[in-house]
């Protein structure tokens, strides 16, 4: 059984606020699911020898051409900001003094 502390630690890593009752429920659910997916540990193949089919594709760092679906969408993106000042997205100060 996954411990309460494990669940709380995962929630912190995943940036999720969970209620106490949900922590308990997830202890049960995650343990149950891990028991099932644990079948994969019996696989003898070594992960390191597997080669993924897909490879990253790079593009030139140039402005998008006219007709590209991403061109001309700046205002729509800015309009979605939760808190906007002019064209700025207002966010919380990240670097703060130690208290």
């Amino acid at each position: 059984m996954v411990s309460k502390e494990d669940i709380q630690n995962l929630a912190e890593l995943a940036r999720l606020e969970l209620s106490d009752s949900e922590v308990e429920g997830l202890q049960k659910d995650i343990s149950h699911i891990l028991e099932y997916v644990g079948q994969v540990s019996a696989v003898s193949a070594d992960a390191k020898i597997s080669v993924p089919e897909n490879r990253n594709v790079m593009r030139e760092d140039t402005p998008r051409a006219e007709g590209d679906p991403m061109v001309g969408k700046r205002e729509a993106v800015v309009a979605a900001f939760p808190k906007r000042e002019g064209d700025y997205n207002v966010v919380r100060k990240i670097i703060q003094k130690d208290e």
Binding site: I33, S41, P69
Partner: protein
């Protein structure tokens, strides 16, 4: 056919071309039926107020001499496919008020073809589920029995098509989310080859697994939509050039070792009867072995949540959507994500975080990746000996709403036959194979619930699916024959 909304796309396209009907009439017929049945079915989360205008535009294009099989055809769009200027939510509260800033490539291609978008269809939140019960906006209902689930996650799309609220619809499929609801609703659902259809503008779930595809009343309709949306896209580096292969499939392989337990006996009977009917059509049916396929669902439930936890990291309340505030940056994130994501999304994020975390990565994600490659090799090898692999699309007909909600694993098992094609990237289609009897169904269903048969073909060989799918349709059992 009494009403225009009951036409297939192929039939409607023919009438449009002959100018017997207009796109506006066709769209109105779908909207009228939607007004009647959507309050109960909850297939659409939103019906677009410009649907009739889009249809009028299509009629104007036709008047100027344009033609094409999808010009003026009204479709539903799953709520995780971006349409510029329209609200899109992936049925989640975390995307509250979010308006798409651009068209998905599939949207742009359908617009170019002249399709009419009727509305956005309900789904499990972020496509996490097999029943639409994980939607933040309530479940959709199965048109054959409103006490039952339509399947999921593209359940709104499936219910809309099966109830004739649209002529066809787009869905997305990460582990069976097109094929399983198609099976439960008695329609056709296609998951294309990975890369055949661009993923640009789909709200990502598992990026190495996701594909968009059609849900339709007939195989020919699925082929029409697939041909309109496929192709290489410079904005999705995993998309591939796609040329239609000529295919005359003759040999069907059946992995019977996977069907020994967990499948309803009458589903197996229908399946065997369908194979017998295909034999009568000249197909050869042989047994095949896929030794690792028994592991597929376990492999999927490691890889998918891992990708989910990474993809859903972007929903942080900083750039768009729901934005809750706490006393610190950490609290801003945690409160936004804690309140914005529903229980199943949170469960999958937690599971994905677990399997990717230090100390567990090799045992879960590493092993699952290795098993995935083994499975892929086995399927590729099997498809060198046969043209198609066949199995039931799902082990049961549509379960009742609420029947699986208390046990996540029981819900996951509905995808046992569909996840393999996502893991291996092969194209797969679910085609109706008839109905099975269940007690307590409403009179109009006549005690019968639909079930689907799944064909899987070699990478890039959708054509084999269409040919065999049409052969299966001919043997009966499609929704067109039972209304």
């Amino acid at each position: 056919m009494s009403s225009l909304n009951q036409l297939s796309i192929t039939e409607a396209a023919d009438k449009l071309q002959k100018k017997e009907i207009s796109a506006v009439e066709l769209t109105r017929a779908c909207l009228d039926e939607t007004a009647k049945r959507n309050p109960a079915l909850n297939a659409y989360l939103e019906v677009f107020d410009d649907a009739e205008q889009q249809a009028a535009d299509a009629d104007a294009r036709r008047a100027k001499g344009e033609n094409g099989p999808l010009l003026g055809i009204p479709l539903g769009m799953k709520d995780n496919i971006l349409i510029e200027g329209k609200h899109v939510s992936a049925a989640s509260n975390i995307l509250e008020g979010y308006v798409a800033s651009y068209d998905a490539t599939v949207t742009a291609k359908l617009k170019q073809a002249g399709a009419v978008f009727l509305g956005r269809t309900n789904m499990d939140e972020f496509a996490h589920g097999s029943s639409t019960e994980n939607s933040a906006f309530g479940p959709s209902k199965n048109p054959h029995d409103e006490a039952r689930m339509p399947g999921g996650s593209s359940g709104g799309s499936a219910a809309a098509v099966a109830a004739h609220l649209a002529l066809g619809a787009l869905g997305t499929d990460t582990g069976g989310s097109i094929r399983e609801p198609a099976s439960f609703c008695g329609i056709v659902g296609l998951k294309p080859t990975y890369g055949a259809v661009s993923r640009l503008g789909l709200i990502a779930m598992g990026s190495s697994l996701d594909q968009a595809g059609p849900l339709t009343k007939t195989v020919a309709d699925a082929e029409l939509i697939f041909n309109a949306i496929k192709g290489k896209d410079s904005l999705d580096s995993t998309s591939i050039d796609f040329s239609v292969q000529k295919s005359m499939p003759k040999k069907i392989g059946v992995p019977r070792h996977l069907l020994k337990t967990g499948v309803d006996p009458d589903i197996l009977e229908k399946f065997e009867a369908s194979l017998a009917a295909l034999k009568a059509e000249g197909y050869e049916v042989v047994d095949i072995e896929l030794p690792s396929a028994g592991l597929a669902l376990a492999v999927y439930y490691v890889i998918m949540p891992a990708e989910v936890s990474a993809n859903l990291a972007r929903f942080d309340g900083v750039r768009y959507g729901l934005s809750n505030k706490g006393v610190s940056l950490w609290e801003d994130y945690a409160k936004t994500r804690g309140a914005g994501f529903g229980p199943e999304a949170r469960r999958r994020i937690m599971l994905g975080t677990y399997v990717l975390s230090s100390g567990y990565y090799d045992a879960y994600y590493g092993k699952a990746t290795a098993a995935r490659e083994m499975l892929r090799a086995e399927v590729v090898q099997a498809l060198e000996g046969v043209d198609l692999i066949a199995n039931p699309s799902a082990p049961t007909p549509a379960p009742k709403l609420g029947e699986k909600t208390n046990d996540p694993l029981a819900m996951y098992l509905l995808d046992i036959f569909t996840v393999t094609a996502n893991l291996t990237g092969n194209p797969a289609i679910s085609v109706p194979m008839g109905t099975v009897e269940r007690e307590g169904l409403p009179a109009q269903a006549g005690k019968h619930l639909p079930a689907g048969l799944q064909f899987t073909a070699a990478h890039g060989n959708e054509q084999a699916l269409f040919v065999a799918g049409k052969a299966l349709e001919k043997t009966g059992g499609t929704m067109r024959s039972n209304g």
